[in-house]
Every structure is written in C-alpha cells, then in structure tokens.
C-alpha cells in the first residue's frame, strides 16, 4: 500500500514538472529545437561569452600599447637651455612632453657632455620624477670633474663658439608592473666661447 502511495505521489510530481516545462516559453523552445542544433547552440553561447571577454581584453591591451607608444616615442627630451653657471657647472634643461594619458615616472636621466668634441664627463640625475600627462622641464646640473676642466677651459679661451653635444638617455617607468623603457637623447647647443 505504502509503495503504491509513493508511486502515486511521484507520478503527480512528474506531471507537475512536465506542466511547468510546458508553461516556460524558453524551455519549450529549446525542447522543440532539433537535437542536432542543441550542441551548436551551447557551443555558440560559450564561444560568444569567451569572444566578448577576449574582445574587451584585446581592446584594452591595444589601447595600453598605443598609450605606451605615445609615452615613449613622443616624450621628447629636447635641450631647451644650456647655461654655464660658474667655472665648472653647466645647467642643462630638458623639455619633456607626455602626450599619453598615463602617469609615467622618469627614473634616471644620464648624459655624456662634449664641448667642441672634448669629453666633459658623464652626468646623471637619479631621482624619481613624476610626469603626468602634459609638459615639463627638468634641469640636470652637470658638475664637471677637475680632470676634464682643462678641456672646457681651453675651448672657452681659444674658440669663438662652443658646440655642445649631449648624448644619453632617460629611463622611463610605465604604470604596467613597473615596466621601464629607455628613451635616447641626442642634442646640440651652441654658445659663445
């Protein structure tokens, strides 16, 4: 008796479930779909979701790449001023233009300075300088070592003009897991001797 009652209950439940399926339009549509199409629909949904996520990642990665290229290739580093301050000090002012939307950081500026082809030394500024989007001027103080002072003194005494040649680079930190890129600098400047 008990078993029969249980069977009755099960049958009722099954009937109810079938009714519920019949009432749902989505499930009835899926039920009416030919069996060969069901795996295709599932695969399409899966691939569409993955493709949507991939498209977002692809777009963001490409945008980051463009911004990183702007930050490094258009940074500039032109010499806008060269001033001989005192006997052995040269002030070099570089102009930077961050055209990207990234907040970059200049880690190091390191340059070799030549006066009429005579080497005056290697100078650097190892200081983290934040460079938000926009323009900025950074001054590097070059204290010439006594060993190379004769080179400068001779050129200042005997030459009418001094052709300065500055070559080196700037280490730029991008906001991608502290990724660094070196941007080269090669500038000329002319002063009276």
């Amino acid at each position: 008796m008990t078993d029969m009652n249980t069977e009755d209950t099960d049958t009722k439940t099954n009937t109810k479930t079938t009714d519920t399926i019949k009432q749902s339009p989505y499930l009835s549509t899926l039920k009416s779909t030919p069996p060969s199409l069901k795996p295709k629909i599932i695969l399409t949904v899966l691939v569409t979701l993955l493709a949507a996520a991939s498209f977002y990642t692809l777009y963001t990665s490409t945008s980051n790449y463009v911004e990183a290229a702007k930050a490094t290739h258009r940074l500039g580093g032109q010499l806008t001023s060269l001033e001989v301050a005192g006997e052995s000090t040269v002030l070099l002012t570089f102009h930077f233009n961050n055209t990207s939307s990234l907040d970059i950081v200049i880690q190091t500026i390191a340059v070799n300075v030549y006066a009429n082809g005579k080497f005056l030394g290697n100078f650097d500024r190892r200081e983290r300088i934040s460079l938000p989007p926009g323009e900025a001027d950074i001054t590097l103080t070059a204290e010439i070592h006594p060993v190379y002072m004769d080179n400068l003194t001779l050129e200042q005494t005997y030459s009418e003009i001094i052709l300065w040649f500055i070559t080196g680079g700037v280490v730029v930190e991008l906001p991608f897991e502290e990724m660094t890129v070196t941007v080269s600098i090669q500038e000329y400047w002319v002063t009276e001797g």
Partner: protein, 135 residues
C-alpha cells in the same frame, strides 16, 4: 544535390562565419597578450597561448562536425587571428605614433611567426576532436 542558395544554408553559413570570427578573436587575444607582455591586462600564461590554437581547432570541429570543412575553418581561424594580431600591433603606427615602416615589418613578422605556431596546433586540436567525436 541540395540547393546551396536556400535560406537555411545561408543562415548556417552566417552562423558558422560568426562562430569562426569569434574563435579567431579568442585566439588573437592570447597572442596579442603574449607579444605585449606586461602591457596587456591578460595574465600571461605562455603554455595556454600555444594551446589556445588547439582549443580553437577543437571547438571548430565540434561545431562544424565535418572534418573537411573543419580543416578549412581552422585555416581560416588561424589566418584571421594572425591578421587581427598584426592589426592590433600595427595600431600605434596607424595612429601616427611610431614609424610606419618599422611597424609594418614588426606586424608582418609577428603574423608569420604566429601562423607557423598556431597552424599545426590548430590542426592538431581539430584532428583530436575528429578522432574523439567522429561524424
């Protein structure tokens, strides 16, 4: 012979074309991430980059269920993914940020190297799927 110009075949053609384009976007995404490294927001999983072509080939066969058509579809996926990757890497030059000639060279080089890798892997995935789930 069935008429190839019926609405049903057209629908199937469009559906398969969209599916193939989606798979090529998925594949290109991993390779762009692989080449851009830390610039990409994608977590860099190098083995997954190589196996993604196999996964795409596998999914292509499961959808098409015909070894001959899946073979051509996989080639198409590989070619499209290479083109998408090359275009993505070419974007800074297109926007005038970097040198055009160098960028064209880099993009073409990346596309060719990528195809050399993804084509055998994609075919492998397609063949494995065909072996596991025959027509």
């Amino acid at each position: 012979m069935p008429n190839p110009f019926t609405l049903k075949t057209f629908k199937t053609f469009v559906w398969e074309a969209v599916y193939i384009i989606f798979l090529s976007i998925i594949l290109a995404n991993y390779w762009v991430g692989f080449y851009l490294g830390r610039i990409s927001i994608l977590p860099l999983i190098v083995p997954l980059t190589y196996f993604m072509a196999s996964i795409c080939g596998f999914l292509a066969y499961l959808f098409i269920k015909s070894i001959r058509r899946a073979f051509y579809a996989t080639i198409l996926i590989c070619v499209l993914a290479c083109i998408i990757t090359a275009l993505s890497l070419f974007m800074p030059a297109y926007l005038g940020v970097v040198d055009m000639e160098v960028s064209i060279y880099i993009s073409l080089r990346v596309a060719i190297i990528m195809f050399i890798y993804v084509f055998p892997f994609g075919m492998g995935g397609c063949m494995v799927a065909a072996y596991l789930f025959p027509d």
